[in-house]
Symmetry: C2
Subunit: 498 residues, 2 copies
């Protein structure tokens, strides 16, 4: 059995290296690929994807896994390794290669149609493509197999081991409180000043400030780098090579800085997971939701907190005297935390953001179950938008066509954004219990205290435990959305006096 | 046979993609790899090197090649394809993997010793390592096989199809004339003013000017990019992705600009070869010597010519008014062409440069034949240095330890630098015959005329013909070093009045 395990580890090492190489090809594509090289790059990426698929689904892997019948007898790390190797092997071998190829092909076509449809603000252009994709995704769900709900195996891709029913329970538990808070904020009649956020913020200075914050957060530039791309992302090219990208808008403050802090949270997680779990498949985030908890904890819970800006605001003001000289700390703090229901998810504040996710989750489930037809999607979207956000999209572009995710069949992904918010608040509450001086330290610019706690409780475990178990180990409780609502209510009742 | 050929082409496509992926991994390592990621990157590179080796030496490739017994019947491009595929297959299968691995291992060790030895300026620290490397290189030569000289199969790695005897004939043909020219220049008693070259040339402006020149040369930025690295190089990540790097010295003019132009010459060659020969092993330079002819033609024959600077000097002066306001065109031209025998090859002018190469070639051959022992190398070096350059290195660091090439066993590489110089002059002479207005056009900034001629005569052929045959096709004659000497004598008798 030991020999089988060592052989699996060797196979995994090669898989890790190949996936890091794939990550470099993609990173380079987003940060610096010459414009005419796009097609060639996609062929290079296909080649690596094929090599990866062959290795992940190798018959030999199945044979070796069969030789390790009782992982219970193994040490924690080995047990988790076998569990995750088998999980990857099972998921990849269950789906016929033909289906994978067809979904990739339809995904690419579908993306083109989506671009067209969005620019014409006309869902009917996209509908036939999306119908094909949804049908393939249902096939995929069947191939993966499920017992309770067809949504289960899709959610499981992004949030391993979580069931849809649990997600529904969690969403149901916070939705009424969230709606109540949104209503109280709207009724408060206060409108924070946000005009100053649209003054001039030169790019180079935004970058300089972003790097200062990343350094303070403990992102290790000796094992990473920061670049610019159209859409910010974090990617892992190796345990000692976790790269961030961001983008800057010279006339809107929030995009650059909070984008940088957000990716910094992801990056620190990956750097810590690699440090804890070596060069194996365990050196990764526990789930998308747990990953998102790290980015959102830094971006929102800390990065939009008063203690954080007590330290950083004077430094920021020094860099942007023209834009900020007449803006005091309190005004700044309220401005970056303004709550306003909006049509577009990616522009939403941390309160109403989750309503956008509930909307998408409801529709995805209905599509998958067949209770909603693709052609009826715009109407259903608008109805949900009116109900949840109190807003009616003026056209499909501002409604059902705003996100790219469904083009690729990435159904089951959206909920992890809200799971991230929920985890982040619960983790922060636990951190506060463990570190009574936390806010005082943050107000002195000591963010290392945050990183060290997260490294110990979350990062170094990598994928050793499913996200739910990791949450339990780190906070003493299973995921409880009350923490997030407590956090939001305390913060926004102060800001809005509601 | 057609089926065998198609299958070989498919195999080659995958080999091309993998080698482009390898190129990205290396490019990224030189331009932006986080410092702590070096070891991981080397493991990723080894993985790709292994995949490449398996594919290049695949048994199936040998079987398919055997099914194409008479490539003479094929169209030119297919015949060349089979010839080059077979050549690569033969060379890689002849050398036992054990020897390749051992040479790579010794090479890495040897490089560390070389760094130590150089910083102590003490060859004896490096000698045992170099002995091991030379012994492995001899094994390599035996494995590859040779009839006339052991140097043949090594030279053939860099300058395919050229024999050592031919190289000796060529070197012998120009050496007396070259020595004569160097002596006349020394005797002329003129010393061009070069002090202005060490004034302040801000990096960003050097880059701006370099990009202007590259654009004028016809380097296509939509299919490439320019970055900074410690040692300038050109690399191909795809037919539509040929990247250059350069470096800038803010206090010495020549490094940045001429380095950029040099790499631009390589880059334009690769871009043109890819345009002509698709995504196959033919889309590459014909040989290292032919490659170097393109970089040196642009760097020296054109880039250090009076017509070129007639156009570009006013533009350069606008960018660097402080450094160049009191320097007229003629002074500038003479300054960038100053000839002065020096100890260090990479700092040498285009005249004495070739003496450095003759020195290395003589020693490499003697080492390989066994007529020179590694331990006697410093003495032999110094003796040759005195004889050829009239200079005695004050220590090993400025003599035998100055180049890194031998660490890796790259014996046979140096002569291609001089071959590049020789080819460049002969090509330029042919270009002048074909384009009577060449210099007038260059003086108007029309470098497109140069690129178009080279594209037609050299670039688009890729590896369709061996370098020697390509030279014959492009110029009507076999390589004749008299062109290079004619070029040098005309240029430098004007500058030195000798």
């Amino acid at each position: 059995m030991n020999e089988a395990l060592s052989r699996l580890k060797e196979m995994d090492t090669e898989i890790q290296h190949l996936s890091h190489i794939e990550a470099l090809l993609s990173w380079d594509q987003e940060t610096g690929l010459p414009p005419l090289a796009v097609e060639e790059r996609s062929r290079q990426l296909s080649l690596i994807a094929g090599l990866l698929h062959d290795r992940i689904t190798a018959e030999q892997a199945g044979e070796l896994l069969a030789k390790i019948p009782a992982p219970e007898g193994l040490p924690d790390a080995d047990r988790a390794f076998v569990r995750e190797f088998a999980r990857r092997y099972d998921r990849k071998t269950r789906v016929p290669k033909k289906l994978v190829v067809e979904l990739a092909r339809q995904g690419a076509l579908s993306q083109n149609r989506w671009v067209e449809a969005r620019s014409a603000s006309d869902f009917s252009i996209f509908a036939p493509s999306l119908e094909a994709v949804v049908s393939l995704v249902r096939e995929m769900a069947s191939a993966l197999g499920w017992e309770e709900q067809a949504y289960d195996p899709l959610l499981d891709e992004y949030e391993p081991y979580m069931k849809t029913q649990e997600l529904e329970r969690i969403f149901a538990a916070f939705l009424p409180r969230l709606k109540g808070l949104v209503a109280r904020i709207a009724a408060a009649g206060r409108e924070p000043d946000t005009a100053f956020l649209s003054r001039s913020f030169p790019l180079a200075l935004q970058e300089k400030f972003g790097r200062q914050v990343l350094e303070a957060m403990g992102y290790d530039f000796r094992r990473g780098r920061l670049d610019v791309s159209a859409h910010p992302f974090t990617t892992k090219l190796g345990n000692a090579d976790v790269r961030l990208t961001t983008r800057y808008n010279p006339e809107y403050f929030n995009s650059g800085i909070f984008g940088t802090i957000h990716e910094g949270g992801h990056g620190i997680y990956e750097q810590g997971a690699g440090a804890g779990q070596g060069d194996t498949l365990l050196a990764d985030g526990a789930s998308m939701g747990m990953h998102e908890s790290q980015s959102r904890l830094y971006e929102n819970v800390i990065g939009r907190s008063l203690p954080f800006w007590k330290y950083f605001y004077p430094r920021l003001r020094e860099l942007f005297p023209a834009a900020l000289k007449d803006v005091d700390l309190k005004t700044f703090y309220r401005g970056i935390n303004a709550v306003r229901p909006s049509l577009i998810r990616v522009e939403a504040d941390e309160v109403t953001y989750n309503l956008h996710i509930v909307l998408r989750f409801n529709l995805e489930k209905a599509l998958l179950e067949g209770s909603l037809a693709v052609r009826d999607l715009p109407e259903a979207w608008n109805q949900q938008s009116a109900e949840l956000l109190g807003l009616m999209p003026p056209g499909d572009a501002e409604g059902v066509l705003q996100d790219i995710h469904w083009c690729w069949g990435a159904i089951g992904y959206f909920p992890t954004y809200t799971l991230g918010n929920l985890y982040s608040a619960q983790l922060y509450a636990a951190m506060q219990r463990d570190l009574p001086d936390l806010e005082k330290e943050v107000a002195k610019g000591n963010l290392e205290i945050v990183r060290a706690w997260l490294a110990e409780k979350i990062h170094k475990a990598g994928r050793l435990y499913p996200a739910g178990e990791l949450c339990l180990r780190a906070t003493g409780e299973e995921l409880d959305p009350a923490y997030f609502m407590d956090y939001l209510e305390a913060k926004y009742s102060e800001i809005y006096g509601s």
